[in-house]
């Protein structure tokens, strides 16, 4: 049975596809978007997360660590990254969950057990499972096994992808997927590389080929003020969306939010918002209207 590294599982997810869903977050992503709100999803490895707010200074972790990597300081627990091997002993010992390990190995069976608990909600709402991340296609073997298992049980499957994956993998996944949430960021390749670390050439190519298979796709576009909310980018997205074969694609616009700051802090990563912000509500509405006027169905969030 395949296994994979998962960093979160959310029940009653109501923004990740049709109906009431359970979202499975896969750890590891080939992109590193400046606005990423799931920074713990970037690295494929198990990572330690520490929250000083929850820490009561009991030093249970200090005692539990066999490598003496943890020290209590005036700023809470400091972990020596050279010594730490992310074994998780400290998290197990922590009574308050101030220290937690992000990334847990799951099997197809363990995930299916969780999903089956939610059957009634899926049935009543027309919902299902959403595989998100990180980039779920980075753990293709695990993803495929899960998709097949869900298919056998009649659970509706949505995959949320960056599109930065091997085409063969994507097409194989598409054979077992009911609906895609396909992320676009910014249409200009240079800018894309600058903001996400990779070019969007492969992404756009993949999207086109995926659409040719007749797959059901929603496009998702984060909106960051002054970064990708300009008319030029919106118009390019519009043109691209309209050029895609198959049924017309709906665009979900996801205004930037800075709520993940604390996650960066917990990971011990610095986070530079560089003044990133959501476009004003007025601008958000304008963008929706602009897309609609051009014949593209667009909604905020969802």
């Amino acid at each position: 049975m395949a296994t994979g590294v998962i960093f979160d599982i959310k029940r009653y997810a109501i923004n990740d596809g049709p109906g009431i869903r359970t979202t499975i977050f896969f750890k590891g992503c080939p992109l590193s978007c400046a606005w990423c709100h799931n920074p713990e999803g970037m690295s494929p490895k198990v990572e330690k997360m520490y929250s000083q707010v929850k820490c009561i200074g009991c030093q249970e972790c200090v005692q539990a660590c066999t490598r003496n990597a943890c020290t209590l300081t005036s700023e809470g627990i400091v972990t020596d990254k050279k010594l730490c091997v992310a074994c998780g002993e400290c998290a197990d010992a922590c009574p308050t969950t101030a220290t937690e390990m992000s990334g847990q190995t799951e099997t197809t069976d363990s995930i299916m057990k969780i999903l089956e608990k939610e059957t009634v909600f899926f049935d009543q709402s027309g919902g299902g499972v959403t595989f998100s991340g990180g980039e779920p296609l980075r753990q293709a073997k695990f993803l495929l096994e899960l998709l097949q298992a869900c298919g056998e049980r009649g659970i509706h499957r949505t995959v949320d992808t960056s599109g930065f994956v091997r085409l063969e993998t994507l097409l194989e996944v598409a054979r077992h997927t009911d609906h895609f949430l396909f992320d676009l960021k910014v249409m200009d390749p240079e800018k894309h590389k600058q903001l996400t670390g990779v070019s969007n050439k492969l992404i756009l190519q993949n999207l086109k080929l995926l659409a040719e298979t007749g797959a059901s796709i929603n496009l998702r576009l984060p909106l960051v003020e002054g970064v990708n909310d300009d008319d030029a980018n919106i118009d390019e997205v519009t043109a691209f969306a309209k050029s895609l074969p198959g049924e017309s694609k709906k665009v979900n616009l996801l205004p930037y939010h800075g709520v993940a700051v604390h996650k960066y802090e917990k990971l011990g990563k610095s986070y530079h918002s560089n003044g990133m912000a959501a476009p004003s509500e007025k601008r958000q509405t304008q963008i929706v209207e602009r897309l609609k006027a051009a014949g593209v169905d667009a909604v905020l969030n969802g």
Partner: protein, 825 residues
């Protein structure tokens, strides 16, 4: 996501006060989701008057009654004396008919003027001073009235009140358990209540009931029926009480006619003439139209709450279903418009709001600190023939619930598998407004509950839920709440071998030294033994109290409108109704489950801590034991997370409560005790009388409410809560209660409304009885910032991103708070 807050029926915090009319969020603009068109000026004025009126105490009823008792006690049988007293009050009481009113009559001399009931419990001068000055739920009374009361009323009733009859007779063990807070007793202050009506008063007038009474009187068999004389007295009393209500209505007709003579505004003259016509028709005869039907109910309502002070006031039951035929007929004939119907219903709504619950004293004041008298209008649901009960009247009711935003009456929507989605979604949009109303019930399950407890199919379907969440066969059942049972406190005394650790006094029986328990089963056996003992104490005294009410405080008027009382010649309190249920309401399922899970896992299985250490930590309120407490809080499977470890324990406790209570006989023929899982606001009082508990709860803090998980201990979202809750069999109870709290952002878009609807459908498909959604307000979020561990359940959901409110840093929490502030209006 759990729990609580807001004004509605059965919630943790005392209800929020009504919004002041100045905060005109009340008057919604017409909008696209078919909610509107808003209150007209008459309703705005009536509403303003009702909301701004300060509750006062009226001594009028007590004076009339005392005078009458002084003259007549001993001259008549008790039922006849009660009926004559009621007649005297209806004849003498000061009437009120306000400007703008269409639906008329008040229990007191003015809106929110509340009478006292000295025959049940006679307030002392000191009580009045407390009521006059206390910060919350104040009732004003003048110094002069207090003086008159002290002179005319108090001396007569000394030693003769129901309360004194009860307390002079209770056994010592009961008293010890009661004082420790192991349970409460409803009937020490008010009469047994829970009186909901079916459709009979829309088909028959009181004159028709008088004819039935006369027939049964004539048919009494004095030769062979040893109870014939008692029945005759009861029937005569019922007959007199019908006259009382008719006289009361006629006095209003006369008053309206008189006012019309002096009124200059022609349109008001016409209204007053119409009011007079309506009051001459009902309640004497059956109503002919929508207006008369509402006024009919209102006179019956007032009669029952004037004759006695029953718990949970009075309830029209499926009011929309009763009114729909009148509405549809008149709309077809063109004698009524939708706007007029809505105006009349709004007038009725405000009438109910004019009637705060009569004030209690002592423990009961703490356990239910609210003006709410728990009239709960059932909207939607199914009809007696099993078909869908939703009508246009149901939608009108939802509109005015949204627009009026007043404390009373409570309201609930009833969603069966055949209820249309459009109705459910409309109700969800009202819920989104954040009033806490309406609560949501599942007829498919409560009909089964009633069938299980012996009702016929039709009677069960005509039934519903009243008060908070209590199931009953409307118009045919006396289903009395006897009091709340503090289940976590019973575990607490088990862990102290029968002693209340808070006072050091004996509260239960000796069930063994907890340090000697070899395994979890030994602990559970001791807990079970203690439970059985306490429940038996409770039932014994409840039976005694029931006899006292049957003897000394019959309710002949109420008996007229509850099925089979006339045919049996017996009072509502004496087995007259077709069905007779006593409920014991068990509180704190979440707290007790989590405490048992803690001991099972950490003491008996993992041996993380030994029993001695946990008991010492609990005794010291976790002083110096934060590591232990945090370990318990974060490393124990708690109820509400779809985790079988805890859920199995919850089911076990629930099933044992059921076995200990269900089907035990009460004093009425065929009457039984049944399990109920309601807490209203009593979990706050119960928490106050308790020390810390093994689940990490601090001393004095509220225990869990209803069947909801412990505060903030459900960390896997609402679907997991629902799964946990439905592992217990709701059909075995007479009602369970689930409060869930939602951030407004979870209900932002129309799609979210449909998803909430699906969540409700899912809960009901799995067999849930009731759920209520409290849309979190700013105050709750501020509280969450201060006490994060009680609010671990607050979800923030965004596309591809999820988080808990608690985990966000302060700035972002502030952002959510600011957003909530905007969205809640």
């Amino acid at each position: 996501m759990v729990a609580r807050t807001t004004s509605s029926n059965c919630t943790e915090t005392p209800p929020r006060p009504e919004r002041q009319p100045g905060a005109e969020g009340n008057f919604y603009q017409p909008n696209s989701n078919r909610i509107g068109p808003g209150m007209n000026e008459r309703i705005q004025r009536l509403r303003k008057l009702s909301v701004e009126a300060e509750p006062t105490l009226s001594i009028e009823r007590a004076l009339v009654e005392t005078e009458f008792y002084k003259e007549n006690y001993g001259k008549h049988s008790i039922p006849v004396l009660r009926a004559l007293t009621f007649f005297e009050i209806c004849t003498k009481k000061v009437l009120y008919l306000g400007d703008d009113e269409l639906i008329v009559a008040e229990r007191g001399p003015a809106p929110k003027a509340v009478p006292t009931f000295p025959e049940l419990t006679c307030h002392s001068v000191e009580d009045f001073h407390v009521l006059n000055t206390r910060e919350k739920q104040r009732y004003k009374i003048s110094a002069e009235d207090i003086e008159i009361y002290a002179r005319e009323v108090i001396p007569y009733w000394q030693g003769k009140t129901q309360r004194e009859r009860i307390f002079s007779h209770v056994p010592e063990a009961w008293r010890a358990a009661y004082q420790a807070g192991l349970f409460t007793e409803f009937m020490e202050q008010r009469a047994p209540g829970h009186t909901c009506l079916d459709g009979k008063i829309y088909r028959k007038g009181l004159l028709d009931f008088k004819r039935e009474i006369a027939e049964h009187l004539a048919a009494l068999d004095y030769l062979n029926d040893p109870e014939a004389t008692d029945k005759a007295e009861q029937l005569k009393a019922m007959d007199i009480s019908c006259d009382a209500a008719i006289v009361f209505a006629e006095r209003h007709a006369d008053l309206a006619d008189e006012m019309a003579k002096h009124e200059s505004e022609p349109s008001r003259v016409e209204e007053l003439r119409r009011i007079a016509e309506v009051c001459r028709r009902v309640p004497a005869q059956a109503p002919r139209n929508f207006w008369e039907a509402i006024q009919m109910y209102w006179f019956v309502h007032l009669g029952t709450i004037t004759e006695l002070n029953g718990w949970d006031a009075m309830n029209p039951g499926h009011f929309d279903q009763h009114l729909a035929p009148f509405y549809e007929k008149e709309i077809a004939e063109g004698t009524l418009t939708r706007v007029q119907a809505k105006e009349l219903l709004s007038c009725f709504w405000i009438k109910v709001n004019n009637h705060p619950a009569p004030p209690k004293v002592g423990i009961t004041a703490r356990e239910s600190g609210t003006y709410n008298d728990f009239t709960n209008i059932n909207i939607g649901g199914i009809k007696a023939d099993g078909s869908d009960g939703v009508s246009e009247v149901s939608y009108i009711m939802l509109e005015l619930v949204q627009e009026l935003h007043i404390l009373q009456p409570g309201n609930s929507v009833h969603i069966s598998s055949r209820t249309p989605n459009h109705f459910l979604n409309t109700a969800c949009r009202v819920i989104r407004q954040g009033h806490g109303y309406p609560s949501i019930f599942n007829p498919d399950v409560y009909v089964l509950e009633m069938l299980r407890s012996g009702k016929s199919l039709e009677d069960a379907r005509e039934g519903g839920c009243s008060g908070c969440i209590e199931t009953g066969a409307f118009g045919k059942e006396a289903y009395l709440l006897t009091g709340y049972l503090n289940v976590p406190k019973i575990l607490e005394i088990t862990l102290n071998n029968g002693i209340d650790p808070v006072t050091g006094k004996v509260a239960g029986i000796e069930t063994g030294d907890p340090l000697e328990f070899k395994d979890f089963e030994a602990l559970y056996a001791a807990f079970h033994k203690q439970l059985a003992f306490v429940i038996d104490q409770k039932m014994q005294v409840s039976n005694y109290i029931d006899s006292m009410f049957a003897k000394y405080a019959p309710a002949p008027f109420l008996s007229v409108v509850i099925e089979d009382c006339i045919a049996r010649g017996k009072d509502y309190y004496n087995g007259g109704p077709r069905y007779n249920t006593n409920y014991i309401q068990c509180c704190g399922l979440g707290t007790v489950t989590d405490s048992l899970a803690t001991l099972k896992k950490h003491v008996f299985e993992d041996q993380t801590f030994d029993m001695n250490r946990i008991l010492r930590a609990v005794a010291s309120n976790f002083d110096g034991e934060e590591v232990l407490r945090q370990t318990i809080l974060n490393r124990t499977p708690f109820f509400g997370n779809d985790d079988d470890y805890a859920d199995t324990l919850a089911k076990r406790v629930y099933d044992d409560l059921f076995d200990l209570i269900d089907d035990k006989p009460n004093i009425k023929e065929g009457g039984k005790y049944h399990l109920n899982m309601l807490s209203t606001t009593c979990h706050i009082y119960f928490g106050k009388v308790m020390g810390a508990t093994p689940n990490g709860r601090f001393a004095g803090k509220s225990i869990s409410d209803g069947t909801s998980p412990s505060h903030g201990c459900d960390t896997h979202g609402p679907s997991a809560v629902i799964k946990s809750l439905t592992k217990i069999d709701h059909v075995k109870s007479g009602g369970t209660l689930l409060n869930q709290r939602f951030l407004p952002s979870l209900l932002k878009r129309d799609g979210d409304i449909a998803k909430l609807g699906s969540l409700i459908r899912s809960y009901f498909a799995l067999g849930g009885h009731h759920v209520q959604f409290n849309i979190v307000d700013t105050a709750t979020l501020l509280a969450a910032q201060k006490n994060p561990e009680n609010y671990k359940d607050l979800l923030v959901r965004m596309a591809g991103y999820s988080d808990y409110f608690n985990d966000m840093n302060e700035d972002l929490q502030q952002e959510v708070i600011d957003r909530t502030e905007n969205e809640s209006l």
